[in-house]
Amino acid sequence: MRSLAVVALAGIGPIDESPDPLAVAKSGNRAAFEQLMRQHERLVLATALRLLGNMADAQDASQEVFLKLYRGLGQVTSHNLAGWLYRVTLNVCHDMHRRRPDMAVEADPPAPADPQRELLAAEKREVLLRSLRTLSERERQVLVLRDLEGLSTAEVARVVGTAEATVRSHISKARVKMKEFVERSFRRRV
């Protein structure tokens, strides 16, 4: 999904999609819109989860983002869709955060496949979520987009609506804060 988002932002467009579900969805086709959601749901939900810190709020945010997409299908093209989704996700999460600044941070409950491995994975998820809470909202946004979602600094600057130099400043501070938190949490492992 990350690679798909990067490709779409770079202007190449989604690969092997024929016909383009976005174009079909624009004509009011419900199934095409569902397909469009499936293609981008991880982008939206994972970003919202990292920004908000818990799954319930992330799902609420994702729902709002996709409803905005449905209402604004006319405004998006397959070239700007990923950027549009990131921007709207950031805005929706920002609004939710403003309404409820004391949101809970809850790691996604693990699926008990391999208990030992899952325990470590759950611990990492927990550290990821909690370390993100040590950042300011802007630092969190740029770190999620740049380091977790894999957008370039220029793309992050476009999505966030700020200068590239500002993004670089935020990202360097955010990385240092995250590293310090991770070191404290995984002192023995890292």
């Binding site: 990350r2 749901e41 799902q59 996709f66 994975a121 600094t153 995250m178 590293k179 995984f186 890292v190």
Partner: protein, 180 residues
Amino acid sequence: MRCEQWQERIALAAGGDLREAERAGLEAHVAECAPCADELAALQRSLALLREAHEEPMAEAHFAAVRGRVLAEIDARPRRRWEWAAALAAAALLLAGVFVFLRTPHQKSSPRRPVAAVTAPPAPSIAAPARPPTRRRRLGAPIRRVRGTVNPAEVSSEPVVVKLLTDDPNVVIYWIGDSQ
């Protein structure tokens, strides 16, 4: 340049964001500064760990829940629009009906005059005192005029009642007048 001053560049380099022109200088510094080399390595490790946690697959149920809610909302939306449209159409129809009714010249039906029923009071009865049996008057005897007495209460107490029947069977107008 002291190590603290390299920190921002080290953090940028950890994620591959250092500009080409700055990279050579940092590499040279890190090559001869162990603490900065450790800092760079620690940043790279923490980033790798966080990315690993982020890229873990999420349970399909989470996505399905969102999809279901969005599609349910989309399906509910046209129905709501349809209900609004129906309500507006009904209101418009009603207004049009009222307008047409008001604009159409109606044939005036001959107004039914109210039917009046006059209940006249019974004729006043004049009560005369019982007369003694008439005696034959003797010729030449003076005529005695007998004056009857009228009870005034009996004459004037009964009003004239006019009952008016209108088109509406529930409306009856009574006009009560003084007979005097």
